[in-house]
Amino acid sequence: MLRRRFPEWFVLLLPAIIVIAAVVLIPLIFSLYSSFTPYKLTRPSTLWTWVGTYNYEKILTDAKFWAAFGRTVLFLTIVLNLELVLGLGIALLMNKVTWGQRTLRTILMFPMMFSPILVGFQFKFIFNDNIGLVNNALQSMGFNVALPWLVDGKLAMFSIIFAEVWMSTSVFAILILAGLFAMPRDPLEAAKVDGCTPWQSFRHITLPFLMPFIFIAMTIRSLDVARAYDIVQIMTGGGPARRTELLWTLMSRTGYVDARMGLANAMGYVSILLSIVFTIYFFHKLSAARAQIGMGG
């Protein structure tokens, strides 16, 4: 009997192909397929009903989805900008520290070492309206108030943003600090001699040099924040009354609580667009900034 022989390259690549297929390709194809079915986890047979683009049409007209989508974009914008401004400030201050900077840098990383779930619990306690630290502190200082931090829609959003910023500002700080370390000193001295005030030096010399580092941090963080889930789920669960519902809390609710996996997968594919758009945008900015300071495209 003739045995078919596969070409060598194929045999050599086979283990990789199998692994990638098993962990990436098949789940991807499966989820894409299921987004065209009314697949419910509680009724597996629904997987075989083809409904075409029904789920997608439903999403496009779903006010709840778009509210979550818009809220995620808003959340992303506020968090990234806050983290940038704070991270830049911290990095600039850290750069001035001459003694114990290593220790400070390590301490700076602490918030990143916590599990987001724990950070969520921590802030859930801190912002609790009865026993929380914040309200207690306010009352001890003589303000006779009990602010509903996690109950009022706007305050809840603020609290989540606060927790997120607390946890991840150091990503910006560390990356920008790396940029400051890599920065040549000469142009700054030349700028001083050329008549720059400290602000002008920062604006015209330091900042352009830091832009590539800022955009790298932005890209990383935009992917992170776009899939924000843990902190929100723990602190508010998307509530009150969906006022802090983000894409991923909505998706997990749809997929696992309501068991409507087909619809949830369709949401996933739509919201991935958001990440792709942000990533392309920041990469574009990144290569422009790199070219600007002569680091090549």
Partner: protein, 364 residues
């Protein structure tokens, strides 16, 4: 009028004293070169004048105004750095115009000043390029252009040529000298290269270990070094120095048993038994028959050549006097083999005597 005055200027880095209270007066329009081996405090001194380093003690004034506490931008100086220090994200044009832009000058005025500087330095073709697209020499010219655009009172150069190759360095040296003749400003220039110092300076300030050793014109330092450090630092090859002892009042016994008369300039200044170093330059020890000057007192020596360095117009001959390696110069050279014994003439009136203990020159 832009004089620069340093009065008892001191620089401490922590407890380390880098500059030991130096005094220096630089005249308007003068080209002064601070030279010395690395770590002698020359760059630190320049950076204190620029305002990039704090002045620990003493006083620096520019144009009669004490500038100790003024930031660099208020000193009306400009500086050319060793690593060019161009702004990498700006084109040549933007680099040149940057100082005027931050000073909020009119567009048209900036353009005029930039074009003028570009004309002086021949940068017209490069105006839209970024520093990364320029060669070393071009970058250095841009750095100089950036300095002259502002019409500062004083130019400061911090080892501007040390990153260039030898040929380009010679070329840029000429350009810097031409620039000085064209703009006529006061220039303070730091280098560790004595050739640069000799060729560029109106006056050289030779520094060592945070002190000024000697200040003078290039020829003063060359012809009348105050101590053995100056003698061996200035001039190439360095001055030959041989240990010896004064015997009587007019003879020096060199270490290997050779006797030479005390040079005229030092006669009457030495005492019997004094330990000295006898110094002379390679130019003053020449083989017979090779354009040796006729006038002046001479000593005749027969020496064995150990090594030769032909340079074209001259050959440097390495030989040995009293166990010390010395260098001699042969003009209109002919081929010489190592081991050859030649008759040399030592021009005694060009010789120097230094005290062996203090290293200071003994001169009338």
């Amino acid at each position: 009028m832009t004089e620069v005055n340093l009065s008892k200027v001191v620089k401490f880095y922590g407890k380390h004293r880098a500059v030991h209270g130096i005094d220096l007066a630089i005249h308007d329009g003068e080209f002064v070169v601070l030279v010395g081996p690395s770590g002698c405090g020359k760059s630190t001194t320049l950076r204190m004048i620029a305002g990039l380093e704090d002045i620990s003690d003493g006083e620096v004034s520019i144009g009669g105004r004490v500038v100790n506490d003024l930031p660099p931008r208020e000193r009306n100086i400009s500086m050319v750095f060793q690593n060019y220090a161009l702004y990498p994200h700006m084109t040549v044009r933007e680099n040149l115009g940057f100082s005027l832009k931050v000073a909020k000058k009119e567009e048209t005025e900036i353009e005029k000043a930039v074009d003028e500087a570009a004309g002086i330095l021949g940068l017209d073709e490069l105006m839209e390029r970024k520093p990364a697209e320029l060669s070393g020499g071009q970058r250095q010219r841009v750095a100089m252009g950036r300095a002259i655009v502002r019409h500062p009172d004083v130019f400061l150069f911090d080892e501007p040529l040390s990153n260039l190759d030898a040929k380009l360095r010679t070329q840029m040296r000429v350009e810097i000298k031409k620039l000085h003749q064209k703009v006529g400003n006061t220039i303070i220039y730091v280098t560790h290269d004595q050739v640069e110092a000799m060729t560029l300076a109106d006056r050289i300030v030779l520094m060592q270990d945070g002190y000024i050793v000697q200040v003078g014109t290039p020829l003063e330092l060359f012809n009348a070094p105050v101590n053995t450090f100056v003698a061996s630092f200035i001039g190439s090859p360095p001055m030959n120095l041989i240990d010896g002892t004064v015997s009587g009042t007019d003879t020096i016994k060199l270490a290997g048993g050779l006797d030479v008369p005390v040079p005229a300039a030092a006669r009457g200044q030495v005492t019997d038994g004094q330990k000295v170093q006898f110094g002379f330059r390679a130019d003053n020890l020449m083989p017979e028959g090779h354009a040796v000057q006729e006038e002046g007192e001479k000593a005749n020596l027969e020496l064995t050549v150990t090594l030769t360095e032909p340079l074209g117009t001259e050959t440097v001959l390495f030989t040995d006097i009293a166990g010390t390696e010395v260098q001699a110069k042969m003009l209109n050279p002919r081929p010489v083999r190592p081991g050859e014994v030649l008759k040399f003439r030592l021009m005694l009136d060009k010789c120097h005597v230094f005290d062996a203990n203090t290293t200071e020159a003994i001169r009338g």
